[in-house]
Amino acid sequence: MQVIENLKVKEKVYIEKLENGLTIMIIPKKDIQKKYIIWGTKYGSNESTFVVPGETDPIEVPKGVAHFLEHKMFEQENGTNSLDVLTSLGVNANAYTTNDHTAYLFEGIDNFYEALDELMDYVQHPYFTDENVEKEKGIIGQEIMMYDDYPEWKVYLNALEAMYHEHPVKLDITGTIETISHIDKDVLYKCYNTFYNPSNMVMVACGDFLPEDLLEEIKKRLEKKEANGEIKRIYPEEPENIVKEKVEQKMQVSIPLYTIGIKVPPLEETQKVKTHLGVEILLDLIFGKSSELYKRLYNEGVIYGAPGCDFEFANGYAHILLTGQANDPEKVYEEFKKKVIEYKEKGINKEDFERIKRSIYGSFVKEYDDVADIARMFISDTFKGINSFDYLEEIDAINVEYVEQLLKNLFKEEKMVISIVKN
């Protein structure tokens, strides 16, 4: 196995790429009782048009299939449900779907290998029938309705809709009650056979393991399956400009919610980590808890807390998001824009920069305590083509000039949007 060590956090990752294309990553954690394993496929809500390997014409499937498939994977032909089986073994099992991947996982202390049997069995054996597919529509329908009541979710989705013309990232991961009504077992099998191939999958384990032993145990449980070749994913052409600058929705909330979005060009392969770090530093400098902007807006009673900042990127898109609550979101937006211009003109103070860099370094170190945090970080970074350790290393090389340049290149006024949810 290939071993990569990081001396800053004193952790190692063992990596093996099997012949069938499956990537396995193991991060040993001594003295921790909890073991965590996650098996994911590079297939999320964004993949709705693609060419099945071996075929020539692209197919388009209803929105929400990846998530629907995730729900249905637990059902087994012998009538059992793998979630129940795993729960009976005393482990905590779950699954989730994002824009760019779907993953199945469990964590637990005892019965690890019994649970691994079940996990690897159910992910490799789908069982869809007309009846069990219909039944799931009711449960997912309730999940969709639950999200309808979350203003945080609406304000986020609306910001994406304001930024994107075509890219499917703007759509709800679950699909809608209408789109899922078109899902049947044939569509599910088609997507399963395309994307749940070892060459499109990654498994990450974190806990007190001997990497070589665990690797053998995993191999034993793998069905024989050939790598199926490249899946051509087709994303619609996305214009650089935004759709509209402002979008507002009425919902019962005590105080308006806002999301400020900045649409940026898709990232170059080698620049992802560096750009991500640079953007985080900039957002902290501009609107973090020690910033002049935060202090002023808090003192004026416009906001009650610092916004949550995110930088999201995957195939064919990247955007910056700031989300919070404010009595006057328009004012927050205007003041934020002014501050960006001010920083562009005056430059960044070296002392502030170093302090924020320190703080961000510390926050990355903290990511290495919990086995679940570690495994989830590695799997989602891997699907983005990133080795998580790179964040700890590349931060050293970031300097003021670099982030000043980034500010000019990415924080463009004509690419900004604001989404508001209020009464």
């Binding site: 129940d84 309705m145 009541d149 005590s254 020690s290 009650y304 510390g362 903290k366």
Partner: protein, 427 residues
């Protein structure tokens, strides 16, 4: 995991948990005081004011800068309700010295001193909190209380608690109420704060890769803020089983309308037991009823009837109460309620298998074992024991007690469980 307890003074205890498992050190301080209508809102306002600044670090941005310089130390001050107490919870989490590039600083010392400074030495002017901060934080508190309706599921649960404990301290919302905010006077509030820190129960937890408890004790005793704290007969309510003695055995049904797409149905259950050890049976009962994906709630309400995505129950140990939660289509209210009640009845009739019992215990013990791996859970567990007057149960003992629960025990307890309140949030 060992919690080494050192009495700093009467009513003030240091808990040292030494471990090299984590990359962080976690320091926390808890002020425990009686929960009552008169003071609940004042306490909430104080918890917000203490974040604003101290004598030596007079503003929030300076405090933020200080934390950023400590490699992104995380600070928070929150409020909790534990039994009939209101608890101020101060936390600072820093990375271990071991992971600080070229450093010879002892970060844990800085963190302990900073936490004591924030909690005990607020920024004041003329025996008042700074007027500007006082006015701003009153607005923030108003916003927090009004914002309670934003998360509908959480709101429904809080409302059910409020209805169920209508005339008891536990029915109070932990951030108080809006009507009382305007009545608070700055000078009186500062007086009240000084009294609070004189009389509350104080627990300080220091966890991580740290020196032995003696050295920490010395640091605290020589800290200029902590050394002013005198011994006290702490005024708080130790957690113990209480018999609510409800006179009427009628279920209370409460319906409330808000703009929701999905209805939120919450049931509050009374458990009429008297012995501390019966709590472990209640934990098992809850696990079978709604504590996991194998539970009756999940299986019957979600998987069989397809009525909900969320269908679960949780046991509130320090109040000895179970809350059942579900998000359902509004038109399905009657149907869902009927199925939920059938589950409760089933428990009483012993309609669950030995295997259900075995699995429920496994879910609980696995949950308990994860406490070893989580720094904050370790502190929460130890503090829970600290609050419980009659016992100090180790994690191992806890698991043994769970293992000892029999099917008959669960059926017996099911017979003394009754629905107290049914709360439904609809459109």
């Amino acid at each position: 995991m060992e919690d080494i307890k050192t009495q700093i003074n009467d009513g003030i205890k240091l808990h040292t948990i030494r471990t090299s498992k984590f990359k962080t050190n976690l320091i926390s301080m808890f002020f425990t005081t009686e929960l009552n209508k008169e003071n609940v809102t004042k306490n909430a306002l104080i918890s917000l004011l203490l974040r604003r600044g101290t004598k030596n670090i007079p503003s929030q941005d300076e405090l933020s800068k200080k934390l950023e310089n400590m490699y992104g130390a995380f600070f928070d001050c929150g409020l909790d309700k534990i039994g009939n107490n209101q608890v101020f919870k101060f936390y600072i989490e820093t990375i271990n010295d071991e992971y600080i590039p070229q450093s010879n600083e002892e970060m844990w010392k800085e963190a302990v001193n900073l936490l004591l400074e924030i909690a005990l030495n607020p920024y004041t002017e003329q025996e008042c909190f700074k007027e500007e901060y006082f006015e701003q934080e009153k607005k923030t508190l108003t916003q927090i209380i009004e914002g309670r309706k934003d998360n509908k599921a959480q709101y429904a649960l809080n409302r059910c608690i409020e209805e169920m404990y209508k005339d008891e301290p536990f029915g109070l919302y932990k951030f108080g109420n809006i009507e009382d905010i305007e009545k608070i006077d700055n000078k009186q509030l500062y007086e009240y704060y000084k009294n609070l820190i004189k009389n509350c129960k104080i627990d300080i937890f220091v966890s991580g890769n740290i020196p032995d408890s003696k050295e920490i004790e010395n640091l605290i005793k020589s800290n200029e803020n902590a050394c002013k704290l005198e011994g006290r007969q702490a005024k708080y309510n130790p957690v113990k089983i209480e018999n609510r003695n409800r006179k009427d055995n009628q279920e209370k049904i409460v319906e409330e309308s808000l703009e929701v797409t999905q209805g939120k149905l919450v049931l509050g259950l009374d458990i009429n037991i008297e012995k501390e050890d019966e709590k472990y049976i209640a934990v098992v009962y809850n696990s079978i009823l709604g504590g996991s994906a194998n539970s009756k709630m999940f299986q019957n309400v979600r998987e069989k009837a397809h009525l909900a995505y969320v269908a679960s129950s949780s046991y509130l140990r320090h109040k000895n109460t179970i809350f059942i939660n579900s998000g359902i289509e509004i038109a399905n209210y009657e149907k869902a309620l009927k199925i939920i009640k059938e589950q409760i009845k089933d428990m009483e009739n012993g309609n669950f298998s030995d295997n259900d019992l075995k699995e429920a215990k496994k879910v609980i013990t696995e949950g308990i074992k994860t406490v070893y791996d989580e720094q904050d859970s370790q502190i929460t567990y130890c503090f829970g024991q600290e609050m419980n007057e009659n016992e100090d149960v180790s994690l191992e003992q806890y698991m043994e007690k769970i293992e000892a629960v029999t099917k008959e025990d669960v059926i017996e307890i099911a017979k003394v469980i009754e629905v107290d309140t049914i709360y439904f949030l609809r459109d």
